[in-house]
């Protein structure tokens, strides 16, 4: 029987009002905004095209497109007209050079293909800083940045070099006549030849002043050392000689003080009798603090007091100590005991940019006999030389109208010192010239801006440390109409020589062969600068009381803020998308800076981080005030390990004129800083609204599982077999008890006949820096996807570094306190207030019993006899079954054609012709709808095998390595052929620390890990 019931949508329909009648006529209640997505509405309405016609057109054009696509395109091949002698297309050439980006220095090798640099690799001659950080790895893309300045320009109009140079000359002469100064404002200059050029300008112009200015300044530290040694330079720290390292707020593993200490540090982190002990006192949870054996929370204002207290404990004297909590005192007392037990082989480091603190640290080191052993003032590091006082004086001069000419080379004070008065001062300078890489914040206020070449296009020499000379050589013809700043200065004083010849002359004058220096990338020319360590130590001890008094004068407040650096650094390479997409080592956030607060403070102030239905995290916004300067809408990130009543904010973000990638990403922390101080007193106030984070890790703890196997040094030393701390999973089968690596349901692949590639990752050596992640992205053409996609958990990195916090809850504690399962797991999810942190790089584990291989319906992922899990992109139809079946979650799906989709035009470098030049020609660029994942750099494996076959010789163990292993300066990765019995990998595979990730699943991966051992009792 038919249902006669009638339902009304509302009273209107029942009463049949005019509104209801109208609604009944219209399919849609509101007018559909057709015009919005189809363009011009008028045109749409006046069009004669019917729906039928439209379908016909679509049909015909589809058919035509299909037919047309069957025709192969004509491909042109354009060879060289005159091929450079040492260049073979398809074979890479390597050049030794020096990486500098205004902040860092590294000795590197540049891999070029067909005359274009495509990869930065660590230097092979062991010169100073022969490792690559994430920034150094990413720097090759900064060369192909389309936001670079292409030629000289005057305001908005383009200009020419001859016009720029003659204007500069005129202005310099005029300034001299008028008695005004001629200021050359640069970053730290540690190039001997550049210094010579500057000296020549100085002798030609009596009114010439050279001012060095660093955005991330350590000026006060340098002042302290200048007082001790007479040289404005930090000493080099021999971390590998230190049995005990106590750092009071210094994030020394990030290399922000100019020195790469990670390699030397990791050298002493191998478990055993020789393992060093690292105690970190710090405010925000830093990468260095995460790696420490013991970490103590400390407010920035307590740093000085902590150092003074430590000094008193070490020497038994009683200099003035500021306020200090009893917990910190206790930890300092035990640290002092450990330091005293390692006299002459210990190291105390002070963080921040504070002269008094630095002096106290020097005094402690002197008292411990570390001067000359772990602290080497004679091997002075010249990488950072900025002087905040002279900068301030110059700005004052500018504002007073005493400066006639300003040449700002490679600096951006309008961005990095917005409250210094620089921007106002420039307007009062008669002629200002920005020698810059882009039309940035500073260049746009100067009267003229002109491009200088990127370091990969430049000739230069450097003295990063006393006794070492390194060189920079071009690896590509300058892409734009740029000119080295040195040549501009030489032209100013009427010398027409090219800087290249000038430089070569200088190298020859030192009695060095130019060719061999260019081949090696540098030369050792001496042993330090002759500074006496003993004298420096004595001076430090003599001035200690004054320093302690000075340190005690620190201001305190309800909230203290610390300014720190992330992968973007001080913002020189802010327009480099790889650095934004690289998750922060600790928070695992991408494309952002944010205010870190402790969980307790967040609770007290009602600040939240909340997971959304799509898994992403939203956070509160606050108004942040420091010294009356305010930043609004600063997102808040609740950070385990953050000291209570302290805040942390990264510099280098919030650019406004760096390019489409960097602009308006994050907030500009420089706007709150003054006089280069890295900490201050702050107030925060909750604001309306939410911030959307793009965090790549949502589970923060291991929930009691053996994901990162961890033990203490004492346990490790007590049981060499590893049975008690690295238990192997066993299955009970009909054949008896077998380990997960022996159990098998099917026939195994043949892995004995040819090579068998394995990788070992030593969790003791991984410090979480992320250089491997960037290197992997470059080597394998991994697309940049941008914040929105990362937020949807669609990040494409083949290699990620998982970071886990410890939780206060453990199974043992639950047992002891009779806590139920649900409650136990709920509290296990919460990281501890002062967590221990572990890092774990995870890439495709290349399972020999691979779950992904068995579920692929089109056999796109298969196993090789060399122990690799192959992924054949062109076979993949995108079912994503493999990703779902992967226990390690390492497979990545191309949701879009990132290289062509307009949505990614602002972030993906492969979208413009220039950015595409960085792509590795040996690796295919994946398209939309296919799965991808780590191949263990199969292109490198195949290349190295072929090289051996061409030579007709066996493959050497060290013939090649993967991109991640190569980029890792701490040697966390070991890669090789386990069928080669003499190989390093075969040896580490047998170590007691070795284990497989999720061993119990029985996937038998080719990648394995080495248990993390902390130097604790």
């Amino acid at each position: 029987m038919a249902n006669e019931k009638k339902y009304w949508k509302g009273f209107d329909q029942l009463a049949n009002t005019p509104v209801a009648q109208k609604l009944a006529q219209n399919e849609f209640v509101e007018e559909i905004p057709v015009a919005d997505f189809l363009g011009n509405q008028q045109m749409m309405e006046s069009s004669q095209t019917s729906r039928r016609d439209f379908l016909k057109y679509v049909g015909f054009s589809t058919a035509a497109a299909t037919l047309a696509s069957c025709e192969s395109p004509i491909v042109e091949s354009i060879p060289y007209l005159i091929k450079p002698e040492n260049l073979v297309p398809g074979v890479p050439n390597y050049y030794a050079t020096s990486y500098t980006d205004g902040q860092d220095f590294a000795s590197v090798l540049v891999k070029t293909r067909e005359g274009r640099p495509i990869k930065i690799e660590p230097g092979d001659k062991g010169f100073f800083n022969s490792g690559t950080s994430a920034r150094a790895q990413a720097s090759v893309l900064s060369l192909y940045d389309s936001a670079r300045l292409t030629g000289p320009r005057k305001g908005e109009e383009s200009s020419s070099w001859s016009a720029v140079e003659s204007a500069l000359k005129q202005a310099a002469t005029k300034a001299q006549e008028e008695g005004k100064t001629f200021v050359l404002l640069t970053g730290s200059v540690f190039s001997p030849s550049t210094k010579e050029v500057i000296d020549r300008v100085r002798s030609a112009y009596g009114n010439f002043v050279h001012v060095q200015y660093d955005a991330a300044s350590i000026s006060q530290k340098l002042d302290a050392w200048e007082a001790l040694t007479g040289a404005r330079a930090l000493p080099s720290y021999d971390v590998h000689l230190a049995n005990v390292i106590v750092s009071i707020g210094e994030d020394f593993l990030s290399g922000n003080n100019g020195q790469q200490l990670a390699a030397a540090y990791a050298n002493r982190r191998k478990p055993g009798a020789e393992m060093s002990r690292h105690i970190q006192f710090e405010t925000s949870l830093s990468m260095t603090g995460s790696n420490a054996d013991k970490r103590v929370k400390l407010k920035p204002s307590e740093q000085g007091a902590a150092l003074a207290h430590l000094y008193n404990k070490v020497t038994g004297s009683s200099v003035k100590v500021g306020t200090l909590s009893s917990d910190v005192r206790k930890s300092l007392d035990s640290a002092a005991t450990e330091l005293l037990a390692a006299k002459g082989a210990s190291l105390v480091l002070a963080g921040g940019n504070n002269g008094a603190n630095e002096h106290l640290a020097a005094a402690i080191n002197a008292a411990l006999g570390n001067m000359g052993t772990t602290v080497r003032p004679d091997r002075a590091v010249y990488i950072l030389q900025g002087n905040d006082r002279s900068f301030a004086n110059t700005v004052a001069d500018m504002n007073a109208g005493r400066v006639g000419v300003l040449v700002a080379w490679g600096v951006n004070p309008v961005y990095s010192a917005p409250h210094s008065g620089f921007a106002q001062g420039v307007k009062k300078v008669d002629f200002s010239l920005a020698l810059t890489d882009r039309w940035d914040e500073t260049a746009s206020v100067c009267s003229v801006a002109a491009p200088v070449p990127h370091y990969l296009e430049s000739w230069n020499d450097f003295m990063p440390v006393a006794g070492t000379l390194t060189v920079s050589q071009p690896t590509i013809t300058p892409l734009f109409d740029s000119k080295p700043a040195q040549e501009v200065l030489l032209a100013l004083i009427g010398e027409s020589t090219s800087y290249k010849e000038f430089l070569k002359g200088n190298i020859s004058e030192r009695g060095l062969s130019v060719n061999s220096v260019l081949h090696d990338g540098g030369a050792i020319i001496g042993q330090g600068n002759g500074t006496s360590s003993a004298a420096a130590g004595a001076k430090a001890l003599a001035g200690v009381a004054a320093a302690a008094d000075e340190a005690a004068k620190v201001k305190t407040g309800a909230f203290e803020i610390e300014f720190y650096q992330k992968a973007v650094g001080a913002g020189f390479q802010a327009n480099n998308p790889w650095l934004h997409e690289l998750p922060d080592a600790i928070s695992r956030n991408t494309w952002d800076n944010y205010l870190t607060v402790s969980a307790a403070d967040a609770l007290a102030m009602g600040l939240i981080n909340e997971s959304q239905s799509n898994g992403a995290i939203n956070g509160s916004l606050v108004k942040l005030t420091v010294k009356g300067r305010t930043l609004e809408n600063v997102p808040v990130w609740i950070q385990p390990g953050q000291t209570a009543k302290t805040l942390g904010l990264a510099i280098g973000y919030g650019r406004t004129k760096a390019g489409k990638v960097a602009d308006n990403v994050g907030v500009n922390a420089f706007a709150l800083m003054s006089d280069g101080a890295t900490s201050d007193v702050a107030t925060i106030e909750l604001m309306e609204g939410e911030h959307e984070f793009a965090c790549t890790q949502l589970g923060n703890t291991m929930m009691g599982r053996k994901i990162v196997n961890e033990t203490t040094l004492a346990t490790f030393m007590a049981d060499a077999s590893g049975k008690s701390w690295n238990e192997k999973v066993e299955y009970h089968t009909m054949l008896g008890s077998v380990t997960a690596n022996e159990a098998s349901l099917w026939l195994d692949h043949d892995h004995e006949t040819m090579h068998m590639w394995n990788m070992s990752i030593d969790l003791n050596n991984c410090i979480g820096c992320g250089a491997c992640v960037v290197a992997c992205s470059i080597e394998n053409n991994v697309p940049v996807v941008g914040k929105e996609e990362v937020r949807r958990s669609r990040d494409m990195a083949w290699l990620r570094i998982d970071r886990y916090y410890s939780s206060d809850m453990t199974e043992e504690r639950a047992d002891a306190e009779n806590i139920g399962g649900i409650e136990m797991y709920a509290s296990m999810e919460v990281p501890a207030e002062s967590p221990q942190v572990v890092f774990q790089p995870v890439m495709c584990q290349h399972c020999n019993h691979a779950p992904c291989e068995t579920v692929c319906p089109v056999v796109a992922t298969t196993h090789s006899m060399e122990g690799l899990n192959h992924m054949t992109y062109n076979r993949c139809i995108g079912t994503r079954y493999c990703a779902n079946n992967c226990p390690y979650k390492v497979r990545r799906f191309n949701w879009f054609n990132y290289q062509a989709n307009e949505q990614f035009a602002d972030v993906n470098p492969a979208q413009d012709d220039l950015g595409r030049m960085v792509l590795n020609p040996d690796v295919v660029v994946r398209s939309r709808g296919v799965m991808e994942k780590c191949s263990l750099c199969i292109q490198r494996i195949q290349y190295a095998k072929l090289e051996a076959k061409k030579k007709g010789s066996k493959m050497e163990d060290n013939a090649f390595t993967t991109a991640c292993a190569q980029a890792c300066s701490t040697g966390a990765f070991t890669f090789g052929d386990v069928n080669n019995k003499d190989s390093q990998i075969a040896a580490v595979k047998k170590e007691a620390r070795a284990y497989h990730l999720l061993e119990e699943v029985g996937t038998q991966p080719s990648v394995f890990y080495q248990t993390k051992v902390r130097n604790q009792a």
Partner: protein, 439 residues
């Protein structure tokens, strides 16, 4: 006097090879070739032996520095016997240094004129040899009149265009309908019943209706055939076997690799070292073409100078590209350089990684295995289909040099044990694994 180069089997073969792709003209080409062989044999018997020998010797010994009609590195030599005495010339050619040392004024003047460029001594040449050379310099390269055969060869054009076929087809149809009408008329005249196509068709339809089984069978067969044809068509998409694009310079591999036997690796030098075989850069061309400007190229059929003694327009394109002034014999200062845009013949998709060095150096595979008889191709065409099946087949069959290449030293025993006497092919060492070529 008329002379022609000897016409050997290679030329015939070349013609046949070329014609293979156009079977319609095979017979006419064969006819032409046979005619030519006879005619050329007939003519070549009349060639003067001394001039012939002289030409050969000249090409071997003198041509890299001298030409008959213009200055090269040395003076032009056409009619030199009119300018110098034969005796002096013999002395000079045999050992010019000795002649100069003897204080011969002419010799010293000549040496100074060419600013001290030393000419090689040729003690191996006999006086008769030198006389032959001189005879050749007097006679020069004779420009032969175009032969009738030449004209016969030239107009080889494609005629089987679809338009022609359609026109022919419609003529045939018209013809058929005419015949039918005539037949019907004749039938009617004889009193028989005329054939009516429509009625017949109706009958056929009725027959079909009563034989459904047969029709089902026919439908299945036709469907399968259609599917097969479609499949074959679709599988052929992107397969460009026999692709023979026109190149910006009419470079002939037949002349270089075939007739002059230039090693493939001389120009494609990176094939041994790199994944790319490398198209030679123009400076490699100039290694030879600095001296060979094509003015001596003779027509392969007639033997006449192809460009009437002028520079070859094709070689001139290289000069234009690289900025070489052939008259001044120098690179033009700051001259404009225009890269040569060759059209790529062999195109693998980006998703397949192919490495030449792997095959040429490690595998010892001949270029011709994949590229076909390039030394016989005037214009290169794609010889192999370059499909994955083709790659895989070769990997299944090709034996790996495990015995001779030191790379396999460790694996060799393990492989022998595993495959016990079987041929160790590329497949057996993992050469069919997807990730080896797709990454």
């Amino acid at each position: 006097m008329l002379f022609l180069p000897r016409f050997d089997e290679r030329c015939l073969l070349a013609i046949l090879m070329k014609q293979k792709k156009r079977p319609v003209h095979q017979i006419s080409a064969l006819f032409v070739a046979i005619t030519l062989i006879f005619s050329s044999l007939g003519f070549s018997a009349q060639a003067a032996p001394d001039v012939e020998l002289g030409k050969k010797l000249f090409k071997q010994n003198c041509a890299s520095c001298h030409k008959l009609d213009k200055k090269l590195i040395g003076p032009e030599l056409g009619g030199i016997s009119q300018r110098r005495s034969e005796e002096w010339l013999i002395q000079w050619i045999k050992d010019n240094a000795a002649l100069r040392a003897s204080g011969d004024a002419d010799a010293i003047a000549l040496f100074d004129e060419y600013s001290g460029s030393v000419m090689n001594a040729f003690p191996a040449l006999s006086d008769d040899d030198i006389r032959s050379i001189l005879a050749y310099t007097d006679a020069g390269d004779q420009k032969s009149a175009p032969l009738a055969a030449d004209a016969a060869v030239a107009p080889v054009e494609e005629e089987n265009s679809p338009v022609m076929l359609i026109i022919l087809g419609s003529f045939l149809l018209l013809f058929l309908s005419l015949l039918l009408r005539i037949r019907n008329t004749l039938k009617q005249v004889q009193g028989e019943k005329a054939t009516h196509l429509l009625q017949d068709a109706n009958k056929f339809y009725l027959w079909v209706n009563s034989n459904k089984r047969f029709m089902t069978f026919l439908t299945i067969v036709l469907s399968l055939w259609f599917l097969q044809v479609t499949y074959a068509y679709l599988m052929g998409i992107g397969v460009e076997q026999n692709y023979q694009p026109q190149q910006p310079i009419a470079f002939s591999h037949k002349v270089h690799a075939g007739q002059n036997k230039v090693d493939c690796n001389y120009c494609h030098s990176s094939a041994r070292h790199s994944k790319q075989s490398g198209i030679p850069s123009a400076n490699v061309c100039m290694n030879c073409h600095m001296y060979i400007d094509g003015s001596e190229i003779t027509d392969s059929l007639t033997g006449a100078l192809k460009y009437g003694g002028d520079r070859s327009p094709e070689i001139a394109k290289i000069y234009a590209a690289i900025g070489w002034d052939p008259d001044k014999r120098a690179y033009t200062d700051g001259g404009e350089q225009k890269p040569i845009k060759w059209v790529r013949v062999h195109n693998l998709p980006d998703l397949a990684y192919f490495n030449h060095a792997q095959h040429v150096t490690a595998g010892g595979v001949e270029c011709q295995t994949c590229h076909g008889p390039v030394e016989t191709m005037d214009e290169v065409y794609q010889y192999s289909d370059l499909t994955m099946g083709w790659c895989i087949n070769c990997h299944r069959e090709t034996e790996v040099k495990t015995e001779t290449n030191g790379y396999y030293a460790d694996m060799h025993d393990r492989l022998k044990e595993k495959f016990k006497g079987e041929k160790i092919t590329v497949e057996k060492i993992g050469g069919l694994e997807c990730g080896k070529c797709h990454y």
